[in-house]
């Protein structure tokens, strides 16, 4: 009988200690700005890579113009 009473008391004590922490409280507060910064960075990196690809496309067009000019020049010489 005495043992049973002791068990109940111990369980009650554990619940009193842990319930509020595990169910309701966040230990880290705030951080909204950091989340926004991280998500913005993700989109910025994608935009950066797309810009890099666009720069390369412009470079390809310039090269093709030069190559076409060379071919036309060769044809007119013939």
């Amino acid at each position: 009988m005495n043992d049973n009473i002791e068990m109940v008391t111990k369980i009650n004590t554990i619940e009193q200690i842990y319930t509020p922490v595990t169910l309701h409280k966040s230990t880290i507060q705030g951080g909204e700005t950091m989340v926004i910064v991280a998500y913005s960075l993700f989109f910025l990196l994608i935009m950066g890579y797309l810009l890099l690809l666009t720069r390369r496309v412009v470079q390809i067009k310039k090269r093709m113009n030069r190559i076409n000019k060379y071919i036309k020049h060769g044809e007119s010489n013939e």
Binding site: I28, Q29, M34, A38, Y39, L45, R63
Partner: protein
């Protein structure tokens, strides 16, 4: 209508991305806050999928580099460069977002623990690869770059071992119980990140193919002129 005229996979990928990304962002927004991390845990939905994808892409780049060293075919070098470029893009995000997370969770922007150190070494080595690869188009440059890709890839198993075997990392796997809504957000995020990566790889491949073609033509013209 454009979908009848143009059946290029890039068109479908753009369409899929315009659906998948907003859906993933919505799922992330409505997912509940984690009990101990709070809102900062939302970085995890991008950080984790992109970390996995960056490691796979960098490993893929190293495999293509080995194929180039053995076969000496330019297509392997092109695929290696493309894979490493996109892999580095995601690795950069993983490093910075991880640092933002660490500031809130560990109260420090950077901690010199095994996993983070190996990731940084890997990032620096692949960074050298990209600088080298952009410095020229000759066979020697391609060969040295491929060796750097291999050196960078050595870090990938070390990162894995540092987390799963050594038990030294603060960033250890396991023990995290996710709410069904959180799991759903992570799944949608994974799908969206895979789709974006595929789109970037397709776009990058188109551009690099044309770049290689014009380089070849320019070299031929230079030879004829000389």
């Amino acid at each position: 209508m454009f979908w009848k005229r143009d059946h290029h996979p890039i068109t479908y990928l753009i369409l899929l991305n315009t659906i998948a990304l907003p859906v993933a962002l919505y799922k992330i927004a409505i997912a509940p806050k984690e009990q101990t991390m709070g809102i900062i845990q939302k970085i995890f939905y991008l950080h984790m999928p992109l970390a996995v994808l960056s490691l796979l892409l960098l490993l893929g780049g190293a495999i293509f580099s080995v194929a180039y060293l053995i076969k000496r075919k330019n297509i392997f070098d092109r695929f290696a460069t493309l894979s490493i470029e996109v892999g580095m893009l995601w690795a950069t995000f993983v490093l910075i977002s991880g640092s933002i997370w660490a500031k809130k969770a560990w109260h420090a922007w950077w901690v010199w623990e095994p996993r983070l150190t190996f990731v940084l070494i890997m990032w620096l080595t692949f960074g050298v690869y990209l600088i080298l690869r952009r410095s020229g188009t000759g066979d020697q440059t391609k060969k040295i770059s491929a060796i750097f890709a291999l050196l960078g890839a050595i870090n990938i198993p070390l990162i894995h071992i540092s987390v799963h075997r050594l038990k030294l990392s603060k960033n250890q796997k396991g023990g995290m119980i996710l709410d069904p809504q959180m799991k759903e957000a992570l799944l949608y995020s994974f799908i969206a990140m895979i789709l974006i990566t595929t789109l970037l790889l397709f776009l990058g491949n188109q551009v690099s193919k044309k770049m290689a073609h014009t380089t070849l033509l320019q070299e031929k013209i230079a030879e004829e002129e000389s």
